[in-house]
Symmetry: C2
Subunit: 325 residues, 2 copies
């Protein structure tokens, strides 16, 4: 039995479903969760949603028309776009052994669900949810189509990244035919910047650093800068794409200062974007992080200088290993 049929049968057999998204939730994990919940709502099932981190303001439209209820032990737990139980964040301890169905598209997926449906050929987890809802014979209405389009567009950089396939475009065509408001999604996700964000971008870029003969470019977003410009953390996320776009750059790094779990302490995280033939996930794995070939992330520590030095060292060594330096 193919896994999508198994996943479909499982979900059809449940009355109550709790869907979990990963930490630092993005368009794909939230698009997947909200579309799946909407589909389950159409079938009259009780649904609940959990994510360890707050949902960014710009994703709020995904959750406006869902029937979400309180949950208890009787709910069946399903994860979407979660490659590793650790990515449930603070929910990990409580839920990692209770996941009945894990739906994911990461090649780096670590099995943890009782049933696992993993398709690394899917550019976005939302492609799998589209397949699943079709398999379940659930109506994909305009709103569900918009949710699924959100995940596909955000995870492929609007069909720009190498993970995009012919199937990705076929599914997008279907979603547009079903009424997906792709203009709204694309404007919101790719074409809207606050003035504060623009100002932050300008300042961050003026301090870009180059290493490895220009093959590594790195920028930094300290919390003090966000305070100065008034930009929100979520809205400067687009900056992470910029270093890699510089001609000749194979590894684009963005170092971001985040509030730590301890009061008054902060922590530096790194977003690594890679161009062929580099693999960002290989680099981030060395720091306990992960992700995709083109984009991955990891946590460095409290000290920017030490974190940056270690990361640049690993990047340089990596480029030497693959004969790019």
């Amino acid at each position: 039995m193919s896994t999508v049929i198994k996943a479909s049968e499982l979900l059809l057999s449940y009355d109550k479903v709790l869907v979990i998204s990963h930490t630092s939730p993005d368009g794909d994990t939230l698009g997947s969760a909200s579309a799946l919940i909407k589909g389950l709502n159409f079938l009259g099932k009780k649904t609940a949603f959990l994510c360890a981190d707050p949902i960014g303001k710009k994703f709020s439209y995904l959750f406006e028309d869902l029937n979400l209820t309180e949950y208890d032990e009787s709910f069946h737990v399903v994860t979407v776009d979660i490659a590793d139980p650790k990515l449930m964040g603070k929910l990990c301890d409580e839920y990692k052994d209770k996941v009945e169905l894990a739906i994911d598209h990461h090649a780096t997926h670590v099995p943890f669900g009782k049933v696992e449906w993993v398709n690394p050929n899917a550019a976005a987890n939302c492609e799998m949810i589209f397949e699943l809802l079709s398999e379940m014979n659930v109506l994909i209405d305009k709103s569900t189509a918009t949710k699924l389009y959100t995940g596909i567009a955000t995870d492929t950089g609007c069909f720009k990244f190498m993970n995009t396939t012919a199937d990705t475009h076929i599914i997008a065509a279907n979603l547009i035919a079903l009424g997906a408001d792709f203009g709204f999604v694309n404007k919101l996700m790719f074409e809207t910047k606050s003035r504060a964000c623009l100002e932050t971008e300008r300042k961050v870029l003026s301090d870009m650093k180059f290493y490895g003969g220009g093959k590594i470019a790195s920028v930094e977003i300290p919390l003090s800068l966000l305070k100065e410009t008034g930009a929100e953390e979520g809205e400067v996320e687009s900056i992470t794409a910029i270093p890699r776009t510089i001609e000749g750059v194979l590894l684009g790094i963005t170092l971001k200062e985040k509030e730590g779990s301890e009061e008054g302490k902060t922590i530096w995280k790194a977003s690594v974007r890679a161009t062929e033939p580099c693999d960002a996930s290989v680099i981030c794995k060395k720091f306990g992080g992960g992700g995709h070939k083109g984009a991955a992330g990891c946590t460095l520590g409290e000290n920017l200088e030490i974190g940056r030095e270690e990361l640049i060292k690993v990047c340089t060594e990596y480029l030497k290993e693959i004969n790019e330096l």
Copy 2:
């Protein structure tokens, strides 16, 4: 008889074809011309190409595998993506009455060809060339697919703009299945910036002006700045997309200084990008220019201050007319 069949029959009946692209050639007019020529080459036809302006370096890959020959009076003239004979530039006088087939997708198309095939529902002219080559039963090989993908990706902002349709995605899926090197095209068109370009962008953005209560944003690219940063005119084209992306902006304007036809004199051109419900082509038409709803262009004159003032006045009046001010 549908127009695509008529266009196909005409082309199949020709032995020698001269294809003309519009001035300031972009990915769609060049993708259309090169894919059509490649298709005609497969059929053993003699082909020539003309464009009044030089082809940007980044588009050179489109022309690498074409059999281009000298042309004479015996060649049948076909235009691609040309909305108005004036957009043949200095070729207009000689060719405007000799065009046997005009293939275009602009809603503002002014008829000038003996046979006209105009489809304003096509997001890109390359969609029509895909349809045409399929109708002609011409092989679409990997290289032709890449040429067609180039036009579709560049004219839709990589499937972001509102002109994108379900059909656009279906054609893109076909082209990817046919081997289109979309990763190469997208990286080159959307994700590659020289350091000089980045520096230009930074300086241009630091001087962004706002009008109409923040609904109009305007930036300027003087030739002196390009000289200072070392950026080429073609590579800073991406800046024109930025003003519109600022939150609340409905009309994003980029004023570009260009070499004039007279020695030592320069001229200012405007690129206008518009967000729903605005129509950039309405504004540019008032200055003798044209384009699409989302993006249009016009020529202002030699004096920046006067040109800017006139354009902002027209934009402000336009916003009042449509009750946005």
